[in-house]
């Protein structure tokens, strides 16, 4: 008990000493790895580093080249479309499934595992399987056509205009199970008495969810949001596995641009410039929000 919050000592350093000691790994990770690594990356984005980082500065050249590259512009546009749809559908589907699972159903464990299993499988092969299912020659299109509807067309992976939605289908299949689990954990954290009270008051179930339960699950929604959003920003493997960014460059995404230029093109400077742009965008959105969200309410 010594040296803790309310021990009555004025010394600021010793306040919450246990919490501070316990947080050392976090502080080191945040400062050394994430902050340090980020600054390092930003720093080297002003150089023309190729295979190895080296200090030959070229000013903003890498950024000028980045914003002139058609592939980068396509990547950003794709990320925007993919991001918005992925966010909405993941949350809605994930929550609906969790709400269904929370109805004291039988075989809950089985259903949960079914919704979650795609999360355990390697991207390379899930990409391949969806590539098959969406392939016009032997996937869904050919099955529907063989049922008699001969003009049915469904070839998202081979149509540059809609290819990103083809990737979305596989992404939702892969990721919604986890969202469901998070939501379910949130629902399970809600006091049973609230349900009882709502039932006594005769509030319909959908209203209870919408106006009582969801606001109570704010914290879980925020966690989920960050998990989904960080997954969206970093989306890479699935695109590689399903389309390699094709047809042409129509399903390219920013993270793939970063990796390709860092390691295939051996142009670290260009890759770092692209990842700096990604990070700045993320930081602009997250930092003010995080400040409001995490800095506001104090307790303890």
């Amino acid at each position: 008990m010594t040296g803790q919050a309310n021990a009555g000592r004025p010394n600021q350093l010793l306040r919450n000493l246990h919490a501070k000691i316990a947080s050392i790994p976090m502080i080191l990770t945040a400062v050394v790895i994430f902050l340090g690594g980020t600054l390092w990356t930003v720093f080297y984005s002003f150089t023309n580093s190729k295979l190895l980082p080296r200090l030959s500065f070229v000013g903003l050249d890498q950024y000028e080249r980045l914003w002139a590259a058609p592939r980068w512009l396509v990547s950003i546009q794709n990320l925007a479309i993919y991001g918005v749809f992925s966010l909405i559908f993941s949350l809605v589907i994930g929550f609906l499934l969790a709400a269904l699972m929370d109805q004291k159903i039988r075989f809950e464990n089985t259903f949960r595992t079914i919704f979650l299993y795609p999360f355990a499988l390697s991207f390379i092969v899930t990409g391949l399987v969806w590539q098959w299912i969406l392939n016009p020659e032997f996937g869904i299109q050919s099955v529907v056509r063989s049922l008699g509807w001969s003009t049915f067309t469904f070839d998202p992976l081979y149509n540059p205009n809609i290819v990103i939605y083809g990737i979305l289908i596989a992404a939702l299949w892969q990721g919604t199970g986890l969202v469901m689990c998070l939501m379910l954990a949130g629902l399970r954290g809600i006091d049973e008495d609230i349900w009882k009270a709502a039932r006594v008051d005769g509030i319909p179930m959908w209203k209870t969810y919408l106006f009582i339960i969801i606001p109570m699950m704010r914290a879980v929604f925020i966690t989920t949001l960050v998990i989904i959003a960080s997954g969206i920003v970093r989306v890479y493997d699935l695109v590689v596995a399903q389309t390699s960014g094709g047809p042409g460059i129509s399903s390219e995404v920013p993270a793939k641009y970063v990796y390709d230029y860092m390691f295939q093109a051996q142009n670290l400077g260009q890759g770092f410039a692209a990842s700096t742009m990604m990070l700045i965008t993320v930081a602009i959105i997250i930092v003010p929000w995080a400040y409001l969200e995490f800095g506001g309410r104090k307790r303890g």
């Binding site: 295979l51 390699s244 042409g248 390691f263 295939q264 051996q266 142009n267």
Partner: protein, 411 residues
């Protein structure tokens, strides 16, 4: 130097009582993991093990993006492997400049690599500041058009003998429901196909000017307009391929669903595995049957600088084993590539491989783009051509304009 020798001698005396002198385990990383490739690597390992050392295999599938960061991290992280594969060319340049790689000049001089390695450009790209840093092991060339004899039979036309005949025969193929030219969706395939068209249609001089001298004017010139015209044809003919991997595209040719494919000599392995015979089941046209020239890219082994004297010795042994005539023959027959030595006998080679050997012997070779262009410029070209091949609305003129920009900025 003396101290080193002394240390080596000491180390040797320590090991001697155990039995074998200069024997060491050497970890070798590479990305050869498919059946034929693994069989080829096994030949190298066998030859190396025969010297009393031991080859510890460190295979990692997937070149470029997957294997390279691992290899580079291991070397810069201070825990290097004994030897590692790279495409020879400019991939390891900086590791050498950073002083992390081992100088092989002694071995090379002793064994007269300069005299035996053909073409000389292979050794040139291993040479930095007059010192030799890698051992080339094979030659792969890109400039091949693979044709399905069955597909042309179905369409009722003769198997073409060159690119122009191929383009002329395309409508007949299309009528028979066959995709004339299979081009897989991965970006490097479109880029490779363009490079091949460039040599075949544009010729050797233009290729040299554009890729070796980075001459933007030549890239904008009338010869290149023709090349882009041909690329436009290729794009039209490749419509409906709908596959990703190059070997899936090759498979379309094997099964007669596609008329042909522009792909490197590694495609040959696919035909062999499918039990097809060159000449009767499929036809190969080096240089698209127009300009019989092949490029000489390939693979090479690099040796990180090690502290361990025993292992350093073993590195020398491995380097000389890789270029040993017997190893060269055994390895390249399995790999389907051409040996780097002009003085070995490849009687067991098949027809297409023999065509390649002939061209090589005649000296109709050019240096591959791997050696001429940085990986960065190549990646930019991949982006451009994969977009071009997938976007029918992009005009050849627009593509050429962007191509000129890339060449002008190339290093």
């Amino acid at each position: 130097m003396k101290l080193r020798l002394l240390a080596a001698a000491l180390a040797a005396t320590v090991v001697l009582p155990l039995g074998i002198a200069n024997a060491a385990d050497l970890e070798v990383t590479h990305w050869w993991t498919s059946g034929g490739e693994a069989a080829a690597v096994a030949e190298l390992a066998k030859a190396f093990d025969a010297t009393g050392n031991h080859w510890v295999d460190g295979a990692i599938a997937g070149s470029g993006g997957t294997a390279r960061p691992i290899m580079v991290s291991r070397i810069t992280g201070g825990d290097p492997m004994g030897a590692t594969q790279f495409n020879h060319g400019r991939q390891a340049e900086e590791l050498v400049q950073a002083g992390l790689m081992r100088d092989l000049t002694d071995v090379a001089t002793k064994e007269n690599w300069k005299g035996i390695i053909k073409p000389a450009s292979l050794l040139d790209s291993c040479t930095i500041d007059g010192k030799i840093y890698c051992a080339p092991v094979n030659i792969h060339s890109w400039q091949w058009l693979w044709l399905s004899n069955a597909a042309f039979k179905t369409a009722g036309v003769d198997v073409p003998k060159n690119w122009d005949e191929f383009v002329a025969a395309a409508p007949a193929l299309e009528k028979a429901g066959i995709v004339p030219l299979a081009v897989g969706g991965q970006p490097w395939q479109a880029n490779g196909a363009f490079g091949v068209l460039m040599i075949a249609i544009g010729g050797k001089d233009v290729y040299q000017k554009v890729f070796s001298d980075k001459d933007a004017e030549a890239a904008a010139g009338p010869e290149m307009v023709k090349v882009f015209k041909a690329a436009d044809d290729a794009r039209r003919l490749s419509k409906g391929t709908n596959v990703q991997d190059w070997n899936q595209a090759t498979n379309l040719v094997i099964t007669g669903k596609a008329g042909g494919q522009i792909m490197g000599d590694w495609a040959q392995g696919e035909f062999q595995l499918a039990g097809q015979k060159a000449g009767t089941d499929y036809t190969c046209l080096p240089g698209l049957g127009v300009n019989e020239i092949i490029s000489t890219g390939g693979d090479a082994f690099y040796f990180p600088l090690l502290k361990d004297e025993e292992k350093s010795k073993a590195q020398e042994v491995l380097a000389s084993t890789l270029l040993n005539p017997a190893t060269q023959v055994a390895f390249n027959l399995k790999k389907g590539s051409l040996p780097v030595r002009g003085d070995v006998d490849l009687a067991a080679a098949n027809d297409c491989m023999k065509k390649g050997l002939d061209i090589l012997a005649k000296g109709n070779v050019i240096v591959s783009t791997d050696q001429l262009l940085s990986a960065d410029s190549q990646k930019q070209m991949e982006d451009l051509f994969s977009e071009f091949f997938a976007t029918p609305t992009m005009t050849p003129e627009d593509a050429q304009k962007r191509f000129v920009d890339i060449i002008a900025a190339a290093d």
